[in-house]
């Protein structure tokens, strides 16, 4: 999942980025409001973590600008300004969730997962489809036969992306956008390698190839 982190505190970003990447997010950083707004409009992000106290352009303004352009990017506001009137402003501005600083990373990750499930209209808890259970916290996959498999970072990202969009055709470049951040080296052949590996785990009937279009996850 591609995540836009709009936060200007370099020290916080350094630790937070590690935690987010460890949790399977491809993280892009914007350290000011103008960049954040621009990147957020790029339609490649699955979720944004937005600090309200951004330099150049205030976070709430960034959010309002996104929403006024019809950009429905799921947004979690992360802010030290947690007076109630600011919360009300935040939700009125179109935020999907609000987390006051200081916070525990676990809480942020839990809220991110919950938000992504909600956006894909998936129930809470672990992601499940066709007898498969994806534990997003431990990044493990339990297959129909009850066996548990530890996934690598990329496998996990790719599978989560597929499970969150069942029945939808995802092109290779879309999948790339959602699992890699701006700084990664991208090689589209790698996707094919990982798809093959995932087919071995979940069964090839679940991941269909549409020639020239991309891949579809088939839920029974």
């Amino acid at each position: 999942m591609r995540l836009l982190l709009a936060e200007d505190d370099q020290d916080l970003v350094a630790t937070l980025r590690q935690d987010l990447e460890a949790a399977g997010y491809a993280v892009d950083l914007a350290d000011n409001g103008v960049d954040a707004e621009y990147l957020g409009n790029e339609a490649i992000y699955d979720v944004a973590v937005l600090d309200l106290g951004l330099p150049k352009r205030n976070g709430i303004e960034v959010l309002r600008n996104w929403r006024s352009k019809g950009n429905a990017l799921p947004v979690i506001i992360l802010t030290a300004r947690n007076a109630w009137h600011e919360r009300v402003e935040g939700f009125k501005g179109g935020a999907d969730d609000y987390l006051g600083k200081p916070f525990h990373v676990e809480e942020l990750l839990a809220r991110l997962t919950a938000l992504l499930h909600r956006v894909s209209q998936q129930p809470g808890g672990n992601l499940t489809a066709s007898g498969l259970i994806l534990d997003e916290e431990r990044q493990t996959l339990t297959t129909e036969d009850g066996h548990s498999h530890k996934l690598t970072g990329t496998e996990f990202r790719l599978l989560r992306c597929l499970l969150l969009n069942p029945g939808k055709v995802l092109s290779k470049s879309q999948l790339m956008d959602h699992i890699y951040d701006l700084d990664s080296d991208k090689d589209s052949n790698v996707i094919e390698v990982y798809i093959r590996r995932l087919r071995q785990l979940v069964g090839s009937e679940h991941i269909e190839t549409r020639r020239g279009q991309g891949y579809v996850f088939r839920d029974n």
């Binding site: 505190d9 916080l12 590690q18 300004r81 007076a83 109630w84 969730d97 200081p102 990373v105 919950a114």
Partner: protein, 441 residues
């Protein structure tokens, strides 16, 4: 102090009465004077006419050609009289009949005027003239009854007085109207001040008479300064919170990140300390942010801000699918700062959302005081936990743990507004019931 309208009105009526009375006296006096002058000059002409008909013979005997005199002098008590005397002889007009005029000799060429009572209660104006004719000195006294003229004058005075009273009344009515019109602006300013107090407006209308403008401008200026100050101090506090929380957030992250390498004891201590610092700063900053009863800034609107707050909480606790029942009158009178009220209700409702199973009931009643009652169907609480909170001046660190942190902030706020906050068990829902009573003004 006496009201402006009464003061201006009574002053105006008194001065108008004085002016009309003065005018009446002046005109009466002048008319009397003019009439007398006129009669006196006519009498003088009569005297001269009489003089022309007088003849002295060789012996100095005086004779008068009565046929040449005005017939009114022949009619008894006609009001027109004369008396001629010279060389110890005298001729009375026939109109005098048996009455006499006082004779006061006057030197030739001189004239004397006097008032005398005449026959039949007549008031006579008497003019005595001294002449010399054919070498004989003689006095001709002519008199005329003033009563007919006085009657006329009295009639005029009466008419004048009546019309003056009518004019006076008209003027008073007109003035009262003008006064009321001009005072209307003051009444408007007064009602604006009231709506200012109620928080319906932020500034007074400057379209007022010049005399009031400095006052209105000054009030607006002060309001502006207060609003600005509140805004500035709130911004500064917001920045402060931001600044303090930056390192705090990082500390929290580092503690979390190194959870595995820290001993449990150390981890717990560090985690607890960062939490404490966070909550203490929150509480102190929130207490400092309170606008309190300073009448500035935006007011809380139950119809606009409360639904937004409930929506916010529903978003925050979306997974719980809480049903909130809101009971409130269509209009709630409340002069409480918007941010303060959001903080108060936010904290208490947050607590309710946190503990509720599904149902929350929010009841607002507004009479002379504002009553807010929040009930939930959660586990409720041991009332002894809350007795501490209700007490005035609870030490900050006593309430930072567990249940009551948000409620402690709410309690601070209620105290700031001289209201009361009490806790009990909800009869209907079985959970916690919080009652807030705030003075409405």
């Amino acid at each position: 102090m006496q009201s402006l309208q009464a003061k201006l009105g009574s002053g105006l009526i008194l001065s108008l009465i004085a002016v009309f009375t003065g005018l009446w006296l002046l005109i009466s006096f002048n008319i009397q004077h003019l009439a007398e002058e006129y009669i006196a000059s006519r009498l003088r002409h009569d005297a001269e006419m009489l003089l022309s008909t007088i003849q002295f013979d060789k012996n100095g005997k005086i004779s008068l050609d009565k046929t040449a005199t005005n017939p009114v002098y022949s009619q008894p008590f006609s009001g027109h009289y004369y008396l001629i005397f010279a060389n110890k002889q005298s001729i009375n007009s026939r109109s005098l009949w048996d009455q006499q005029l006082h004779r006061t000799p006057v030197k030739p060429g001189e004239q004397m005027r006097s008032h005398q009572p005449g026959p039949n209660q007549q008031q006579l104006l008497v003019v005595s003239n001294g002449f010399t004719k054919q070498g004989h000195g003689l006095n001709i006294i002519v008199a005329e009854d003033l009563n007919p003229v006085s009657d006329n004058i009295k009639q005029f005075q009466r008419r004048f007085a009546v019309s003056a009273v009518v004019f006076l009344l008209l003027l008073v009515i007109l003035q009262a109207f003008i006064l009321r019109q001009s005072l209307k602006t003051i009444t408007r300013v007064r009602s604006e001040l009231q709506s200012l107090q109620q928080g319906e407006t932020r500034q007074l209308n400057t379209d007022v008479p010049e005399e009031l403008r400095p006052l209105v401008n000054e009030i607006n200026h002060l309001l502006g300064i207060m609003e600005q100050r509140l805004h500035r101090s709130r911004n500064a506090l917001g920045d402060l919170a931001h600044t303090i929380k930056k390192p705090l957030t990082l500390m929290q992250q580092l503690i979390d990140q190194h959870h595995a390498t820290l001993t449990k004891e150390l981890y717990d201590k560090l985690a607890r300390q960062t939490k404490d610092i966070n909550q203490l700063t929150d509480r102190i900053l929130k207490r400092a942010r309170l606008a309190g009863q300073a009448h500035s800034g935006a007011r809380f609107s139950f119809t606009r801000d409360l639904p937004a707050l409930i929506e916010t909480l529903e978003m925050m606790y979306r997974d719980k699918n809480v049903k909130t029942q809101l009971i409130m009158p269509t209009e709630v009178d409340c002069a409480i700062d918007r941010e303060d009220m959001l903080e108060l209700l936010g904290n208490i409702l947050d607590n309710a959302y946190k503990w509720t199973r599904q149902h929350i009931k929010l009841t607002i009643t507004s009479n002379t005081e504002l009553d807010i009652c929040i009930e939930d169907d959660g586990p409720g609480a041991d009332t002894s936990q809350f007795s501490q909170l209700e007490k005035r001046g609870v030490r900050l660190d006593e309430t930072t743990h567990g249940y009551g942190f948000g409620l402690a902030i709410a309690a601070d706020m209620v105290r700031e507004y001289q209201g009361t906050l009490s806790f009990s068990t909800s009869d209907k829902l079985g959970g916690l019931r919080v009652d807030i009573r705030l003075p409405a003004g």
